[in-house]
Amino acid sequence: MSRRRVGLSRIHYEMSNKEHFREIGNNIAAVEVEQLQNQLAVFKTNLEEFAQKHQKKIRSNPAFRTQFQKMCQQIGVDPLASNKGFWADLLGFGDFYYELGIQIIEVCINSRHINGGLIAMDDLRRAVEVRRGARAQEINNDDIVQAIKNLAPLGSGFQIVEIGSQKMVQSIPREFNTDQSRILSISQLTGFTTITQVANETGWAPERIVTIMDMLLRDGLCWIDLQHSEPQYWFPTYFFSEYSKI
């Protein structure tokens, strides 16, 4: 029969137990980490094999590329992290988005004098596609988004904003307040609006609307047409959707 340990002896006993447990715990943790690392290594290898196998498809099919991107992000592999290394070599991603970024900048800057630095995502993509030529890899809007994200560290100030039902790209650093966004969204369907129309849809006082309109005029985002019974405010970014010649 064992007798209860008391006093110092008990303390010693408990301490050695604790150490023992900690040791076991550490061992288990180490094993788990090792297993995890093995699993991750296997997974990476599989992913690499997958990428190698579907290399063509990833390069040529925008929808597939987007999915692949998402998958990589979820497991913390960033194929865009650098221009060098396995991923970039295999998929040419670094160059791909770098090149796309340059083309986006070109289209945005060259069309700025027309649209005031605000362009619909679809129009931008089409203009970029024209610029890239018929033989270039196909691109979709997700690629545009990714390329713009990659431009952020360069301080490009390019931003994607949601106006009404459309995604648009802002190439001039500025924030639309809610009033401006509202008016941009009201004008989206017809390409223009009037003080009366905005007043009817928002219930705002005419003074408030005139102030916002003046801001939009000053920013080069809209043009005024005085040859109508009521002045019309036209938004070139909605009117001109073809930028193929710039």
Partner: protein, 184 residues
Amino acid sequence: MDSPTSFQFPPVYDFPPFFTRQPTLSTWQDQAKQWQTLVLNYCRHQRQFRLTLSEAANSELFNNTAIGRKLPLAAIHEVIQLMVDQGRAEWLDDKKTSRNQCLIYWHSPEEWADLIYQWIQDRALNNSVLTLYELTHDDLSQGAEFHGMDALMLRRVLSTLVSKGKAQVFHNDEAANEAGVKFF
């Protein structure tokens, strides 16, 4: 050269506010630039060397009947003045207040001079005397870009050649039409 095809207006020609002078300076600068390009391209296509603004204001160039918009005369004046500043037009009225006519240089006088001189060279017409009328309005130059050139513009163009010693103009005070030119 005298193609009957109608002029292809740019997309901005259908943008209603293009016919209202924009209050924002940078927008107006861009708008005025687009008007200048349009005027030059239009005149070149129509082979119009001279514009009378009061008339042009009602022509299709400045008056888009399809959308019911026309550029006001004051804005037309501003556009032409900008063209004058860049050597792309020349006022023909001395008085600032009543300016209504101008020459439109879709080629600069120097470019026209080179074109005409080259044309003479190609036909080995150096050293023969041609009347100014013959040079620009006779069958001889049919098909050349300078065919039909405004007489006053032709004088300006030839004077650049004279100053380079490449031509000599013989004036006829009694009949301006019969003035002659000889190229060297």
